[in-house]
């Protein structure tokens, strides 16, 4: 008989652990080979992994194909940037009816940014989730585009060119200027998010969500008002995307409307598919693969998209399950999409 431990240690688990370990020691490797660029790469991978994980919750597990998810990342990033702007420019954000000053304290800006993203997800979700299938895809895309234009119109905050975060961010009294500190904070957030999503998916709520992906009609017939469950998932995903957006603003110290545009949302979906839709570590593998691939191809030619496009098409058409799908474990029950 196979022992319980053997059942648990599958190629997929090993690879996922290796991935996490690699991310954890990246700063050490980076200083060993004296290449600070590696930390930036790792940071970008983790931020995208968080963002892709949030999309995974609603798309991979819940079956909601949203092409506007980047909006929730961008909104949070902008909240951080705007609050930052108001510190460096000395004027308050709002003078009436209450005074709201700018802030560069992460303890303040992070919750606010995430809350704003979650609220946006609530509003957009409330309207969009009344539609299904094709309409849903397109309405999410259109909403994100609307926000994109909205942020371009904010000339005060840079308009189309975006805006820099000039004020140094702090976590209370601790400066966040240290790249390594920020890196490990991001890693901690990524791990927490993965655990959080895993718990949600396994819970009663998660079962309903997965049911919605498989057969929504059946779920309604059995007594679940599916709209409510999908909306809650949508808001949670928006909040997590907000966390990613906060990290993005803090690490890049720059935001621009392009962060919200629909090609960005498309990239998230691509990462998710590359890594493996509906699997816990798929988003991590997918974003790592995408970022690294982009860097490699980019070093060969600036026109890397000419190669990537057809390769990706081939991948979607003929390779099922993404990277995670290549490493099946005994308790992997993913039925291929068709």
């Amino acid at each position: 008989m196979i022992s319980g431990l053997q059942l648990w240690i599958t190629p997929r688990v090993i690879l996922s652990a290796a991935m996490l370990i690699a991310l954890a020691v990246l700063p050490q490797i980076s200083s060993a080979v004296d290449n600070p660029f590696l930390i930036r790469v790792g940071m970008r991978i983790m931020i995208l992994a968080i963002a892709a994980s949030s999309l995974n919750l609603i798309l991979g597990y819940g079956g909601m194909v949203s092409l506007g998810h980047a909006a929730f990342i961008g909104i949070a990033a902008y909240v951080v940037a705007i609050l930052n702007w108001h510190v460096s420019n000395g004027e308050p954000l709002l003078s009436w009816p209450i005074v709201i000053e700018g802030s560069a304290n992460a303890y303040v800006v992070a919750p606010v940014a995430i809350a704003v993203s979650a609220l946006s997800a609530l509003i957009i979700g409330f309207i969009s989730l009344r539609t299904t299938g094709l309409y849903f895809i397109m309405i999410t895309l259109a909403f994100a585009q609307m926000l994109y234009y909205l942020f371009i119109a904010f000339q005060k905050y840079g308009g189309e060119d975006g805006t820099q975060l000039l004020e140094r961010l702090t976590l209370g009294s601790v400066s966040l200027n240290d790249r390594i500190l920020l890196y490990y904070i991001a890693l901690g957030i990524l791990l927490s998010i993965l655990i959080f999503i895993d718990r949600i998916v396994q819970s009663r709520f998660g079962m309903v969500l997965q049911g919605c992906r498989q057969n929504e009609r059946r779920l309604e017939a059995v007594g679940y008002p599916t709209f409510r469950y999908k909306l809650v998932a949508f808001v949670i995903a928006g909040a997590i995307a907000g966390a990613a957006g906060t990290l993005l603003a803090v690490s890049q110290q720059f935001v621009s409307p392009a962060d919200l545009a629909w090609p960005r949302s498309g990239e998230l979906v691509i990462m998710l598919v590359l890594g493996g839709v509906g699997t816990l570590f798929g988003p991590v593998f997918g974003s790592a693969f995408y970022v690294v691939l982009q860097l490699v191809l980019d070093s060969w030619t600036t026109h890397w998209q000419i190669i990537f496009g057809p390769v990706f098409i081939f991948f979607v058409l003929f390779v099922k399950g993404g990277i995670v799908g290549l490493f099946k474990g005994p308790f992997w029950r993913h039925v291929p999409h068709g």
């Binding site: 598919v273 998209q305 000419i306």
Partner: protein
Amino acid sequence: MSPLLFVEQSLNGLQFGVMLFMMAAGMTLMLGIMNLVNLAYGSLYMLGAYFAVTIQWWSGSFLLAAAGSLLATAAVGVLMEMSTFRHLYVRSYLDQVLCTIGLNMFLNELVRVIWGSRPLNMKLPSALAGTVALLPGLSYPILRLAIIAVGVVIAAALYALIAHTKVGIHIRAGASNRPMAAVMGINIKALFTFIFALGAALAGLAGIMAGPLLSVGINMGDSILVLTLVVIVIGGIGSVRGALIAAILVGFIDTWARMLLPSALGDTGIYLLMAGVLYLKPRGLFPETT
């Protein structure tokens, strides 16, 4: 605001709506009949503009450029259909979204390689370059009037095609019941290829019309794509009539919103319209029920 300004802006709105209709009609046919999400559709629009600019540069003739571009774009469309899209009809919407995003990436970059990153300009023949006095005090560009005229002709032609020809019957049959249509002996493969070519030509036509008005650049397809999707969603997927009404509506609302509201709200006007419509009618104004 003067009534003349209002008339001028309304005509602009109509002209914009007509261009949107070109795109929307093609896309809604593809969606409604072939169940195909094509996010690379904007690139056909872009190719239409680029082909026109190039042919005009070689030949010096605007007419030749327009005709040549239409043919070339339709040909590219057929090529796309036969190589990639054939495999996509049976796949999930997600797979279609992904593949067409990949295709869009590829085409955008290909255009950049062939034509370079700088925007190009299309020259107008003198016949279209001037203005005409529509009302005392109102001079309106002939080009825009021509676009409106072309749009009306195309709308009429599409109506005639769908309502009064054999192909139109096939289209309607294919839209409502594909297995039935196949049993009735309609060649679904040929029909789909035809619709794709038609859609590509319409997108190319819109691109040709856009060329002289906006500059021809990479990513011009991405922005028109979203607008097209908004129009289709408002009009109802699969309905050409819905696409026409929604396109005109969007054209007007967008132009008026920009004129009347501060810039931030002006851009978002049509999205608010879409949100409102979908809240009341989640399947658009004229959904083609299946």
